[in-house]
């Protein structure tokens, strides 16, 4: 149990620490920012500290029993630690970026409070092995993201935030009904009990459908995706947090947690989910090709890429699952980079309309190169990280004999190249339409440069993440490779 303290710290340091931030902010902004950074960095360090143990095959469990089959269970298995490390790492960079970005605006105390609480809730959700506990953390992320999307408090922004909240909360409630139906079957909300019972009785399709509503709405997949582009009105670090690091990955993570690692839904879902994901990937890629608002464009790209992740996780092939998990990592890094670049562009040119931009590579070289590196990774070009994850998803899907759906996703991959290049060319190349645009502040530029470099490095050193993912998949499926 020596790691149980680490596990609790990873979750509760940010959650409890978040409440100190508004107080600290009354004393000094610098102290508040330092504490906020420290809290998230602590969460990252605690997550990383668990890596060696889980790599060695240990699984850490904290279990406190309550009445009615409710128990407080936290499990740190490879999947959870993998996800926690990604989320807290990206949040650390995004928070560092925020120092430059958010310093121009009001209500900073609230901002840091919400962001840190958001991450804490995410960590809680990741390690929860009880569905009720998971649901509680799920809703905390919904509430914090509602406030963060409407952070600028314009009427229109608040409406968009309401939309995001209502859609995801609707999904969450149907998901809760699904959880209850799992409870009726297994007599417990504990995932290990559900796993044991599901091996005897396969779970009802009805329950799968209800839970999928929740997952798809949170991960912004068709037809529940339109809140995500609308959420682009939030501050850029928040959109990065929502789209790349935390919010949309929740649905994907819970899918992996419940439908891959715990129960195996009926064969039917191995076709149904990929079909939904394929439609989602194509429609949103098309929308990204039409969109002229930079942040909405990248948001549609997220919807499209999430489709690839679901594709990998849902076809029921170990290689595809590994690809899907690796995709979470690669996409997280690259997409966070793209959003943070968008933030620099937006703040320094005062516009998000890509048709009004151009030639910025001369005035913002670091942002331009970082944007390009991240874009290459999302496109799946070697030696960038996205190449390996995309290949593994495709190869796994072929292994699961999903030939036609793979061809549809291939079109999605084509369109990824098109819309990202269209955006890059319109923003950074061609005639310079504004001369006053300058490079972002130091913390912002450093953040995007780190993410751009990581997009490349994650591909060059793909051996390490892929080894870990291999171990994770072997643990999830209970098979030895």
């Amino acid at each position: 149990m020596e790691y149980s303290c680490t596990l609790l710290n990873a979750i509760f340091v940010p959650i409890i620490g978040a409440f100190i931030l508004p107080l600290a902010g009354r004393v000094s902004a610098v102290i508040r920012n330092t504490i906020a950074f420290g809290l998230i960095a602590a969460s990252l360090i605690f997550s990383l500290k668990m890596l060696p143990a889980v790599s060695a095959g240990q699984t850490l469990v904290i279990n406190k029993q309550f009445a009615f089959g409710l128990n407080f269970v936290l499990v740190a298995d490879p999947l959870a630690v993998f996800m926690a490390s990604i989320s807290s790492f990206l949040s650390t960079i995004i928070l560092f970026y925020s120092f430059g970005y958010i310093s121009h605006y009001e209500n900073q105390n609230e901002y840091y409070f919400m962001v840190v609480l958001f991450l804490g809730a995410m960590m809680g959700l990741i390690f929860s092995a009880n569905l009720v506990l998971l649901y509680i953390f799920w809703e905390i992320t919904a509430i914090t993201s509602w406030r963060l999307i409407g952070f600028f408090r314009e009427k229109n922004h608040v409406l968009r935030a309401d939309k995001a909240f209502l859609l995801t909360a609707f999904g969450a409630i149907t998901m809760l009904i699904g959880f209850v139906s799992l409870y009726q079957q297994a007599g417990s909300f504990d995932l290990s009990a559900i796993k044991a019972s599901a091996q005897i009785h396969p779970i009802a399709n009805f329950a799968v459908m209800l839970i999928l509503f929740g997952i798809l709405s949170k991960s912004a997949t068709l037809p529940f995706h339109t809140w995500l582009p609308d959420a682009g009105v939030a501050p850029s670090p928040v959109t990065a947090l929502l789209h790349a690091a935390i919010l949309v990955k929740i649905g994907v993570y819970v899918f992996a947690r419940i439908f891959v690692a715990t129960v195996t839904p009926a064969q039917f879902w191995q076709t149904a989910v990929p079909v939904i994901a394929a439609v989602s990937a194509i429609v949103s890629a098309g929308a990204a090709l039409m969109e002229t608002d930079l942040k909405r464009l990248i948001a549609y790209s997220t919807v499209s890429q999430i489709g690839f992740i679901f594709f990998g996780l849902s076809v029921g092939n170990s290689l595809a699952i590994a690809g899907g998990l690796l995709y979470i990592l690669m996409h997280g890094i690259a997409k966070a980079g793209l959003f943070l670049c968008a933030g620099i562009i937006e703040q320094n040119t005062k516009t998000k309309d890509i048709t009004k931009l151009g030639g910025l590579i001369n005035t913002m070289p670091v942002t331009a190169i970082s944007f390009l590196l991240c874009a290459f990774s999302v496109m799946g070009i070697p030696p960038f990280g996205g190449f390996f994850s995309k290949y593994m998803v495709f190869a796994g899907a072929i292994g699961a004999q999903k030939y036609w759906i793979s061809l549809v996703f291939l079109i999605g991959a084509f369109m990824t190249i098109l819309y990202l290049f269209r955006a890059f060319n319109l923003i950074f190349l061609g005639e310079a339409k504004m001369t006053h645009a300058k490079e972002g502040s130091l913390s912002m530029v450093t953040s995007v440069a780190i993410l751009g470099a990581l997009s490349l490095l994650s591909g060059l050193t793909v051996y390490y993440p892929s080894k870990f993912v291999e171990m994770t998949v072997s643990h999830m499926l209970g098979v030895k490779f």
Binding site: M290, L319, I417, V462, S466
Partner: protein, 610 residues
């Protein structure tokens, strides 16, 4: 195992080094590129004829970092190293004073490293890793050209990127069917899904080689990109790499047999590429653009040759690959020296410079004769082999190939005549011969064109025929003079016809540049040409329009879904609350009525449930 990593690591490190060199020390990047390409050549020579393998397993799912040096990969690496060294020497003079020098040399060397990696790879994913990585440097090399070059760079990136993705799917499918990704262990029959896998891999291979319909960035790049890039990449590296992989999938990974439909698909692509591209080349009025269309057209011969799936055709196709790389990069280099010395490649502003630049002219003459298939130069022998294979598979393919040769000869007569002969153009009065370091690569290449022709047994016996191996050759040896007198006679007729056609054209129109106007402005053809010149048939533009339509439809769907949430749900909610609101009007009698109805329902429920 270390030896095999050298051809990848040396150029890669040198390339990164060159990218890091600042403007002040630009001379350093020239030193770096010369030494790195020289070392690479030495290593390639030393490694040739060796058999080595490296294998480092990485994941459970077949991703193994494995390289394999054997005859075929060693030969391609040698050819690549030779071209790299010659063109590096050329570039050092040509690129002097140009912008982005460090980037150009950096991308140059990284291209070399990745090409070596792709050739050596013995695992399909490792191959794809290097192969697709070339996209990045391709983009970079074109983009550093003139101001609008980034558009062409994007076009190239998108075309090649899309086909590389097809290849990725093909590799996934091949791996699934074969149960391994190790190239030397894959031997699949061409049945069922195998056909799909072959087609997907083939798309990647022929797109890299620049065949139709994946060609349209090449003529644009000829105008926008730095010239040594054209001689290096589309003329040499990409042809070598693309045809290498096409040969690998046709010979090793799959067993392409004559009569299979994929063989007919390949030959058809080859034949169409030959004809359409050379038709476009014929009417060009720019030195480099004309050459670039030939770079497309010639790849048609190689694909046709390999597509025949007959030993004679495959040997011809592979021989043509190396021959084409020689004379086409030679031709581009002559184009470069014309550009450097006269400042233009527009044929209307050139003329009569043959006497001013005799060495360039001589090199042009040899390489142009080689591409036109004039004996005893190398192009003649490889084309004869391809004709032989094509004729055996169907006269229509042969007819396309021979018609292509006629038009090739005609367009080079036009090019040579209008640039080097005829009246000296006023602006070229003070033109001088190109500097020696630029002439050396051209002379070497032109000499090789003669050597590979006159002594064609040298390349055929040492390089080409061992690729197939004695078993596949069935004891044939294709070295020496062609054995089929009919084919040789036809070739001679075609060349004479092209010469007659040229002089007739010149005579009737009065100028060399208009020598083919009777074809250009022939009825029907003129309208097609007009549309082609306006990019009406550019597959890239058509593809973009299709993508745009798909995007519009997708966006419409997306907006409709949003409408459901933004409008419909809101309306329904309002309608619902509105009707409920009406029931709560504050009137005592209404509430009493509701209570009574409610009470009645409770009573009824109790009565019937008991």
């Amino acid at each position: 195992m270390g030896a095999l990593l050298l051809p990848i690591l040396i150029p890669l490190i040198a390339g990164i080094l060159s990218l890091l060199i600042t403007k002040r020390f630009r001379i350093l990047s020239e030193v770096v590129v010369l030494w790195a390409t020289f070392f690479n050549l030495v290593i390639a020579v030393l490694l040739f004829k060796n058999n080595l393998t490296v294998s480092l397993p990485m994941t459970h799912w077949g991703l193994t970092f494995s390289l394999r040096l054997y005859h075929f990969s060693g030969f391609i690496m040698l050819a690549v190293a030779g071209f790299a060294a010659l063109i590096a020497l050329y570039s050092v003079v040509f690129m002097k004073g140009k912008d982005h020098l460090n980037q150009f040399y950096g991308y140059f060397l990284i291209t070399l490293a990745l090409t070596n990696g792709a050739v050596l790879a013995n695992n399909l994913i490792v191959m794809l890793f290097f192969w697709e990585g070339l996209l990045l440097v391709l983009f970079g090399m074109i983009a550093i050209g003139n101001k609008m070059a980034y558009k062409t760079a994007t076009k190239a990136f998108i075309i090649v990127g899309v086909t590389d993705l097809c290849m990725m799917l093909g590799i996934a499918l091949t791996g699934h069917l074969a149960g391994t990704l190790t190239m030397s262990k894959i031997h699949l029959p061409l049945i069922g899904l195998g056909n799909l896998a072959f087609i997907l891999l083939m798309i990647g291979a022929i797109s890299k080689a620049g065949a139709m319909p994946f060609h349209s960035w090449i003529p644009d790049a000829a105008v926008d990109a730095p010239l040594p890039f054209m001689a290096l990449v589309p003329a040499a590296f990409e042809k070598l790499l693309g045809i290498y992989f096409l040969a690998r999938i046709s010979l090793d990974l799959f067993n392409l047999i004559p009569g299979s439909w994929v063989s007919i698909v390949l030959m058809t692509i080859g034949a169409i590429t030959i004809i359409l591209a050379v038709m476009m080349a014929l009417i060009q009025k720019d030195y480099k653009r004309l050459l670039s269309y030939h770079a497309i057209s010639q790849v048609g011969y190689m694909i046709l040759g390999i597509g025949t799936a007959l030993p004679v055709g495959i040997v011809g196709g592979l021989f043509h690959m190396i021959n084409h790389a020689l004379y086409k990069s030679g031709l581009f280099l002559t184009g470069g020296s014309v550009e450097k010395q006269t400042g233009t490649t527009n044929l209307e502003k050139l003329g009569g410079i043959g006497t001013k630049m005799p060495v360039t002219f001589a090199c042009f003459l040899i390489t142009a004769c080689a591409i036109s298939g004039v004996p005893p130069l190398n192009g003649f022998f490889s084309k004869e082999l391809i004709y032989d294979g094509a004729l055996e598979r169907g006269w229509i393919f042969y007819a396309a190939a021979i018609l292509g040769s006629f038009l090739t000869a005609a367009s080079f007569l036009k090019l040579g005549h209008s640039a080097f002969l005829g009246k000296l153009h006023e602006s070229n009065k003070n033109t001088q011969e190109a500097p020696i370091p630029m002439l050396i690569p051209m002379i070497i290449i032109a000499s090789l064109c003669i050597l590979f022709g006159v002594f064609n047994y040298l390349p055929l016996n040492n390089f080409i025929q061992p690729i197939l191996g004695t078993a596949r050759l069935h004891g044939h040896n294709f070295a020496g003079f062609p054995t089929n007198p009919f084919l040789v006679l036809m070739t001679a007729v075609v060349i004479v016809a092209a010469i007659l056609n040229h002089f007739w054209g010149v005579k009737s129109k009065g100028s060399a540049i208009k020598a083919v106007d009777h074809i250009h402005y022939a009825p029907i053809l003129s309208t097609i040409y007009e549309k082609a010149e306006k990019r009406f048939f550019d597959p890239y533009d058509i593809g973009m329009q299709v993508a745009q339509r798909i995007a519009e439809a997708a966006f419409w769907c997306d907006r409709k879904i949003d409408w459901f949430y933004e409008v419909l749900t809101v309306k329904i909610t309002f309608a619902f609350t509105h009707s409920i609101k009406k029931a709560h009007d504050g009137s005592y009698s209404t509430y009493l009525a509701w209570s009574l109805v409610g009470g009645l329902l409770v009573v009824l429920f109790l009565m019937f449930s008991v």
